[in-house]
Symmetry: D2
Subunit: 434 residues, 4 copies
């Protein structure tokens, strides 16, 4: 895979930030294009690469930038579902552009990509420090959002007509692909507009990068809810609580919660196939647990067990183009009830779906730190004239990556990796239920 | 109404608590039976009573008690749905019986009234200080619960066969009626067993008493969820969030949340009839709001708008004998969608039902204080030989009331009272929507 | 005591709020001046009053008001130390004045009474709905505060010169006395300016009223800190944690925390005299506890044990005129250390003073409800032309009281009352330690 | 540096865990000794190593282990100051040893290394699943702790006399050095006892490893306190809040809080020398800020500015052997007061020291996940017969490191690195104040 980031041209403007290029003077050094971060930290991978391991561009402020800050206009758009930390990112982009570089005109694009289509009549929002100074205290996005794409050519027209030099697009897989398409159209037209993707996926399923913002907050907010579910389960004889969490293709939130809060007895994720029926199936395992302790907590990612539904799911998609999942939580609830009814065992089942509560929470401290650092790195890359790139953290280091490098596939939990093994150890569930 | 509390007989045992009967010695005084609390604080009510206003028995430790503590056995049972604070009550009952009075044998009855029926095989749990010392940190009930009643005679048999002298029943309307029936059966048999009700209703709908434990925690926990709902609503163009909260017959939680978190635009409660359609109906009011601000938050109590459903609801009851409500939240979601679809206006609706998350939360500090004081008062009354009574707070004072005094009807919000007016002022919704 | 509230004159303007005067129409009724609330709920007190018990004026909107809202100017000032809920009160005053009555000009007075003295140059802040809509999310006061009084005549000059018709003063004992002095000066000058006190005291020590806003949040925020203190205490052999809480003259916060969080072993409050030394003194009681369990948690109100200091305290006052207390927490720490050193017993003492963390927290849900209702009642009284009054809740009802009725003495914990007995029951400490 | 971990001998016992050695079967694979993780992720570092970059041993369960689980005894000791997450680590060690490996005898050593010295008379605590199942909900350590070392030979005697095969020592720099000394003494005696260090430092200052447990919770808990400090600062004219946070040698917590909560205007850390006086000194910078906005928040790590004290600090050490710092918070408070007094400018200074509140908090979700994974890895390494090692995460991967590799120096913030630059960008403070 090619990890080279595109640029709009030679950065020839001296950066207005008073940094250093001297090691040892206790002042941060501009980052040079030569600094690279290894993609893999495994010694084996290294040995197999014969001295030329894959590496990524180190993020950071460049000594020379492409845009003249005082004459440049930046715009910010937020797309897709809510995720903790969006407002932190918006705030730090505005603060950084304004205070570090002196960018005077920063526009908020309302309601996602819709805001780039004049017909919707959403207008723009002027983003100045006073307007954004407290927004990090609030979940959601002050810009509003929408799902789904819009006509790429029309969106580029809007950028061009409004003299926008930099577009920051905060969103998930679909948004990033859209941003790349915008960037490609810009290249085709020979324009000098930088398009920057800031990966936002509460599911933490963007490929290559260590983690996406909002993910830690997500399982931080979910954890006490799972404790509540445990209280409900123990509050009734043969009490069973089912908590459905986000995770369309990847079970990171569900598995993290299961490791964090060890009252979880079963965690079901999209990556792990499981049977309901059969000697080794989930229902028998649940029954064994119930016979032993008379209560059980099940955490299930929304994308788990989709093969258990009869109808053809591949046709149903939401406005973002994501496959609409059948509700695995409700299916489990029904199947569990049927199973114990058929055995004449009483159970009390509680079903909890806290998705909106999690998505709309403000970022916790760790995510706040991450969002702010991410936004700073994004704007440094943009000012340097890079385009069609995302900013992310890989092996603990901030890097710039071409958008296509992270959108070719979703990041998934490795069923043979340490993380999933930790989840299995925490729950005590059978390694395999099929 | 008669507010006289029944007693098992003359309290002739000297209380083991070293209190005083002298005012001014800085030591708490035993409470005498002559101390009474006025039922109404209105001067008008007083004037109309011609000098004999209704009054209630003041709660507190009596100088002489009925039971010999060292030879007595107490039992605790928790019934119905979860509510914050149950474990605090259990803890303080055990600690108070053990440390203040020296009661050695305290039994936990598992899984509600089921636990008093030997056929269920639940056994008893020995409750000692070491077992309960940390339970106040956890929501739920360590004893487990169940809904619905059991055969009264069988339950009294169990009390008699196990030499139980005092039964504390923590539960709502149905549980209290059950406790009273147990008490009446005990009287019929000429037994000397005290039955004490500790009102537990997250809906805050027990009559006469100022408030029930867990209620404040309930809207404390619900409040940030309503903030989240606001984030979801503002996060989309014409975003509408519906939060369904507890409140079968009374809208105290919903209205409290609406006053607490002023982002709520509409609060719908069982006490207030409203129309969906029509010029003055809810949907038009919602549309006016949306046209103005492009987002709206609706808080609805589960028992609101039940007349809007076609089918005859009066037949469907749950295991506790409560009428099963049709889901007003889902109805609203559908009707709102239809309304705006018919007008070709796009809306994005999010529906949030956090009931279990609220019910299973641990008590906040204010409720913890309340639970502990309530439990202390309950056990002082029981030791004094009172029976078929509940402990509650009326006009800010702890009192003992005969169970029937509080179970004849549910407490409801006075639509002409200051509290509801405050909710209307906070939301800005029309005073009448019919 | 006289509980009659002063008025500026006959209220002759029709209230712009569309309320009702008919019982049973499901619309809130205007409150009439004839409605009164009993001061005492004790039957005994009632019998002793021979049919003329003390009663208070019921708060609420009047059908006729004194000020023409569209031509009136209101001002808000916040004085003294921070307390949770101030911003909620400010917000609801502004919202209510603006939306219920249509008052167009609302001024924020910056930095307490200083803001009424032109020489400080603080100016005024225009308060409009958009400026205050989110402030309830934040602790502190958006207006700023200061301690201490200012020249009364100068302050009245400022009110007069700026055409201010209503002054809301949010503050404690000193602030309320200052507000009353302003009101008296206004009367002397024959002006028609209403002065309203909204009692703010985190210590909950304003006389007569059930509680002051911010108090519940205070012990809600303090409670987990006391759990932390318990963790510190159990984390070391003979670990002792001392938590100093607010409570200059009254120990309500300390005692509430002790009841709420039963890990507290000793609670020391200003109302209770105690000795350090001696057989029955505190240090021996502490040693007995430590020998039993090897850890202890002590909660002490800042005003406790002031007689234990040598120097004459009565001379040292802070800018608000309150007596400056010597640090009882540090004294305890020293004396405890000396005591165990002298016995050659090792102890590990941790001292925690979380005052600022508590004072500056945002209001919890219960206090938010209270603040909003209180503010609504305050503005209804002001619009009706009442003056030199405070709004408060007595026996669960909102009332108007003349300021002097609540500033003659501080409310204190009754050492012979149920509340303190609950604290003793929770801690298990000796009833008397002298 | 040598990164080879010592072993007690050939692991010849088949692991009782049913894992796989086959890639692709969806079951976690045992980790082989050949798997290594690169120490540096910089491409430059790699190129300079000529194909032999430094690498670390990958953590995880081995197919063959050294100890026969059913015949082995493990012991756990917790030393030094409290830190969020200790109980999570204890819980997961006990659960893992018991359920994964079947270890029957697990001892808790009370009160740190003291517990290994019989003279203290602390005894041992039997650790079984039922005893530890809920402890992760609580901050602190259920084992208790103490500071400082004990006689190594005596401690090894205790291990030997009590047939302890594995010792898990949870603690910071001093504890780890102590553990290594114990391990060396064991080797000298030819015993087969494994000694495992689990790094615990709230300051996050253990070298090489990415982060230590509890650190994230620390700044998560500190963040709202800094918001409170901001409320206090804005609540007064020229209000200044000083928050002192942990950080003896390294300012990670202080800097993280400053990035997380952007109301911080100055962050002072041990790594950064700064002057108080002088044109470019801190006091002038503070005054400029105050003149601009009339409030300021300062976060200072306890080890910052130690050169500003007159007296010779190098002599004063606490029981753990750490240098006792003079209180920089109090020094700042005094110097700030003097500065503005001398200029006749009024300021209101609030000083907040929340250390104990932070140290004793329970772990947040992210730290809970980390603690549990860390504990699992620690016990896998121990069962495999490794000794004198610590478990940690490096470049996102769990590794085993010889204890001396991480105790030679403290990890510090790189003043020329991205993290500190982010802190400077967030605060807006001058890059250099000397």
């Amino acid at each position: 895979m090619d990890f080279t980031v595109s640029t709009l041209g030679e950065p020839s403007v001296q950066s207005p930030i008073s940094l250093s290029t001297i090691k040892g003077d206790k002042i941060f050094n501009f980052v040079s294009e030569a600094e690279k971060i290894l993609l893999s930290v495994s010694l084996k991978a290294f040995n197999e690469h014969n001295g030329a391991p894959a590496s990524l561009e180190k993020a950071g402020p460049r000594a020379h930038i492409f845009f003249d800050p005082t004459k440049s206009t930046a715009a910010i758009v937020t797309c897709g579902g809510l995720c903790p930390g969006i407002n932190n990112v918006i705030r730090s982009l505005v603060m950084g552009l304004h205070y570090f570089y002196g960018v005077q005109r920063i526009l908020g694009i309302p309601y996602g990509y819709e805001g780039l289509i004049p017909e919707y009549g959403h207008g723009f929002i002027d983003l100045v420090p006073d307007k954004v100074k407290d927004i990090h205290e609030f979940g959601g996005t002050i810009l509003g959002s929408s799902r789904g794409g819009q006509n790429v050519s029309d969106m580029v027209d809007t950028l061009e007509n409004n003299n926008i030099d930099i577009l920051f697009a905060i969103g998930g897989d679909g948004t990033l692909k859209g941003a790349n398409a915008i960037g490609e159209e810009i290249k085709k037209r020979g324009l000098k507009i930088s398009v920057v993707g800031i990966p936002k996926t509460i599911d933490n399923d963007i490929d290559i990068i260590d983690k996406s913002f909002g993910f830690e907050t997500a399982f931080d907010v979910a954890s006490p809810i799972v404790k509540d579910a445990h209280n409900e389960a123990t509050g009734a004889y043969n009490g069973i609580s089912i908590v459905k969490l986000m995770g369309r293709d990847s079970g990171f939130i569900a598995a993290s919660v299961a490791i964090s809060i060890p009252v979880v007895n079963f965690v079901l994720i999209p990556e792990m196939k499981f049977d309901l029926q059969g000697d080794d199936g989930f229902l028998n395992a649940l029954e064994a647990r119930l016979d032993l302790k008379h209560h059980a907590v099940i955490v299930v990612a929304e994308g788990a067990g989709q093969d258990l539904f009869d109808k053809d799911q591949s046709e149903v998609k939401d406005a973002s183009g994501n496959i609409q999942h059948s509700d695995i939580g409700l299916l489990l609830k029904d199947k569990i009830k049927d199973h114990f009814d058929s055995k004449d065992k009483r159970v009390v089942i509680k079903y909890i779906d806290p998705s909106y509560i999690i998505r709309s929470a403000p970022a916790n401290a760790s995510d706040s730190v991450f969002c702010n650092r991410l936004a700073y790195q994004a704007l440094h890359g943009a000012m340097a004239g890079k385009t069609c790139f995302v900013v992310g953290v890989v092996n603990g280091q901030f890097v710039y990556l071409p958008i296509p490098a992270v959108t070719q596939k979703r990041k998934k939990i490795d069923l043979e990796g340490e993380f999933w093994f930790a989840a299995l150890q925490s729950t005590g569930q059978p390694f395999v239920m099929e």
